[in-house]
């Protein structure tokens, strides 16, 4: 997979793609809208657009509520054959101690349904999560056109 344009490194703005701050409920809506435009631009089908926007909504909310805010880096990607959308969510929150547990359906720290991470993973083609307790969490998802 190649990222079509160079992007920002952790937490910094860059020239590639689009970096969106996530600091409020309204920012979660803005992330959804930006992912929608990118998904349309990458020629995703309506169902795939809906899936990746929904996954982004779950992950942006996680960034806000569990990570204490952060940012999303959104870009279009291509592997030569297909186009897609890649979104990276980064926060500097408390991190996740047990990733396997956090990825299970129904795992929740209290307020939600526990579907955010596990559900988002089911909705995308590629899912990567890195988390260091005390330092933060980075979740990267990719959805490809069919």
């Amino acid at each position: 997979m190649t990222v079509t344009r160079p992007g920002p490194t952790d937490g910094e703005g860059g020239e590639g793609g689009e970096v969106l701050a996530i600091a409020s409920d309204h920012d979660v809506v803005r992330v959804r809208q930006a992912v929608r435009s990118a998904a349309v631009g990458a020629n995703l089908s309506l169902v795939d657009q809906t899936k990746v926007i929904t996954a982004a909504s779950e992950l942006a909310r996680n960034t806000l509520t569990h990570g204490g805010g952060g940012h999303a880096w959104l870009c279009e990607v291509s592997n030569g054959r297909r186009t897609g959308v890649r979104v990276e969510f980064v926060d500097r929150g408390p991190g996740i101690a047990d990733l396997a547990e956090a990825l299970m359906d129904g795992f929740t720290t209290g307020t939600g349904l526990g579907l955010g991470l596990s559900g988002a993973r089911r909705l995308v083609d590629e899912f990567e999560i890195d988390s260091v307790p005390g330092e933060g969490t980075r979740v990267t998802v990719v959805k490809w056109s069919r």
């Binding site: 979660v28 959804r32 809906t50 929904t54 909504s57 909705l123």
Partner: protein, 132 residues
Amino acid sequence: MERVPVLNLGDVLLVSIQIDLSDDIALRLQDDLAERIVATGARGVIIDITALDIVDSFVGRTLSTIAGISRVLDATTVVVGMRPAVAITLVELGLSLSGVATALNVELGLQRLRQALSDGTAAPAPSRDLVR
């Protein structure tokens, strides 16, 4: 903050969500509806989500909560107009809109409410409940 308007239609409250729902607006709708049901004595609530291009876990949970709140306030909620892509995504996300009755459009939703009310049962068993 923006608000989702709630319309009075006889003994039914009609809500047509035409904006991209942020979490706080969704929660406000939940509170507004509870107050309006009590204030108007409405027996039914129709929530039209035709314009929503996604329903994520938060909005899904809010819909379930609204249905639950209306039930204990003696009103029946029917969610109408879900797009096919939204239904597919919801199920894959793992969300069961438990306790939420659904219908394909406002007209069918009203029919469903009329039936439920004439049967004398406030809350019908949801027949189109998505996932168990």
